[in-house]
């Protein structure tokens, strides 16, 4: 048997694959990256680049927080086109029930060392003058930020290349084999470890990976630099977005460094085509205008869709595939993969080189999913 050419072959040049490749090469491993289309052109190009600490579960918190601190470590090195903006998040409460959620979040984050600030109605209006009157308050999370994800993916790929990685762009993996990957053109890349980081395409390469597409719509406006200061997310989100079956929309808007406004968000299951659907798009925009009435007068430039790679428990799959120990999964990042890409890369490499990770990996191990092949 001949020795493999690479220590690691990473399938997928989205933000997750890119971060994993950079981390593996930093470890001194010989890395190959295989990307079927273009770097950062999948969900990474479609989504919002909100780097956000979340609190749906302890495991989700641990990974988002760990990742956010890693983003802070790297932020000085990010090139200008990554458009890192430490704008912070405000979770907006429209009624007393949602204000109760603000208080719960405030306790949750404070107890875990994340700086947050409760805003009353007046403080909220001062922070974001274009919000409608009558909102009850909000929670500001100053440490959250925003980036432009495709350029971040390119940055991490470049880092891997500087450390000697090989890049195969425009080459699709046809099949994962026991000792590497076979490309659609028939050639073979041999590697000791294979990483499936193909996002929502990952199940097509590894049978049994329980990742489903969850469609989202986004709209970007022209440049209105004074209109918005923070990423705003409604807390009504809790009532709508967590539904696992019905289509939902929620108010979620992001100020870009260019002055543009990126408006989300919608969630749809069992829809696999990329068509922009006017019905759900107009519901999404109406929701945004309910919160920011002035938005209705601004001009939008473009609407598009993307797919989140959703797992049943909303946590990513990071670690060895059950049926094939040298095959690792780094997928299923749902609506948080930009944020959690960096933590994912660390946890992946720690497992590959057999080192104890900084946070417990158990909640993200593919073996936790019973149906996994």
């Amino acid at each position: 048997m001949t020795a493999p050419v690479y220590d690691v072959v990473v399938i997928g040049g989205g933000i997750v694959g890119a971060a994993c490749a950079a981390e593996c090469s930093a470890e001194g491993l010989r890395v190959a990256i295989v990307e079927a289309k273009m770097i950062g052109g999948g969900a990474t190009a479609a989504g919002m680049g909100h780097l956000v600490v979340m609190d749906d579960s302890e495991a989700q918190f641990a990974l988002t927080r760990y990742s956010q601190l890693l983003w802070e470590d790297v932020r000085e090195e990010l090139p200008g086109e990554v458009e890192y903006d430490a704008c912070g998040t405000i979770w907006v409460a429209a009624d007393e029930e949602e204000m109760g959620e603000v208080e719960r979040k405030q306790r949750f984050y404070s107890e875990r060392g994340v700086a947050v600030e409760v805003l009353d109605a007046r403080a909220l209006a001062e922070a974001e003058p274009n919000l409608r009157a009558g909102l009850v308050g909000g929670l500001r999370v100053a440490g959250d930020s925003v980036i432009y994800p495709p350029c971040a993916a390119q940055f991490f790929v470049d880092r891997a290349l500087q450390r000697g990685a090989a890049l195969f762009v425009g080459k699709a993996v046809q099949e994962i084999t026991l000792d590497g990957v076979r490309l659609r053109d028939g050639s073979v890349i041999s590697a000791g470890v294979i990483v499936n980081a193909a996002g929502s395409w990952s199940p097509s390469l590894t049978a049994g990976v329980d990742v489903k597409k969850r469609k989202g719509h986004l709209v970007i406006t022209d440049r209105y630099p004074q209109f918005l200061r923070h990423q705003l997310v409604e807390l009504g989100y809790l009532k709508s977005a967590h539904s696992l079956t019905a289509d939902s929309v929620a108010f979620n808007i992001q100020p870009r460094r260019t002055g543009q406004l990126l408006i989300g968000s919608s969630r749809q299951y069992e829809v696999n085509d990329t068509t922009v659907e006017t019905g759900i798009l107009s519901r999404m925009l109406s929701r945004a205008i309910e919160y920011l009435p002035g938005l209705g007068k601004l001009s939008s430039l473009r609407a598009w869709t993307g797919f989140r790679a959703a797992t049943p428990d909303k946590l990513p799959l990071i670690g060895p595939a059950v049926a094939q120990p040298r095959l690792y999964l780094a997928t299923g990042h749902e609506g948080l993969g930009i944020t959690t890409s960096l933590g994912t890369a660390k946890l992946l490499v720690d497992q590959i080189v057999n080192r104890t990770p900084k946070i417990d990996v158990a909640p993200y191990l593919p073996s936790r999913v019973p149906a996994h092949g």
Partner: protein, 82 residues
């Protein structure tokens, strides 16, 4: 008798024949930079017929109005990018 309208462009009053387009009024002030691209490059009218969006200016506080498609009114306040 030709009717005229007066508008203010970047703080300077301009008199135009009624029915003129805002783009023409801006040209009359000697300004060729209507707006700046995202990287700060100068931009001005290209097509003159509402298609290219290069002639956008702020009119009465509303950003990104196509000046080649907007008729001048009395008292209109027009701002171009610096």
């Amino acid at each position: 008798m030709a009717e005229t309208v007066r508008l203010v462009i970047n703080g300077v009053e301009v008199t135009m024949p009624a029915g003129s387009m805002v783009s023409a009024a801006i040209m009359k002030t000697g300004t060729s930079v209507f707006r700046r691209s995202v990287t700060g490059e100068p931009r001005g009218p290209l097509c003159g017929m509402g298609l290219c969006f290069e002639c956008r200016v702020t009119i009465d506080g509303e950003a990104h109005c196509r000046s080649c498609q907007t008729v001048c009114h009395d008292g209109m306040d027009v701002r171009t990018d610096e």
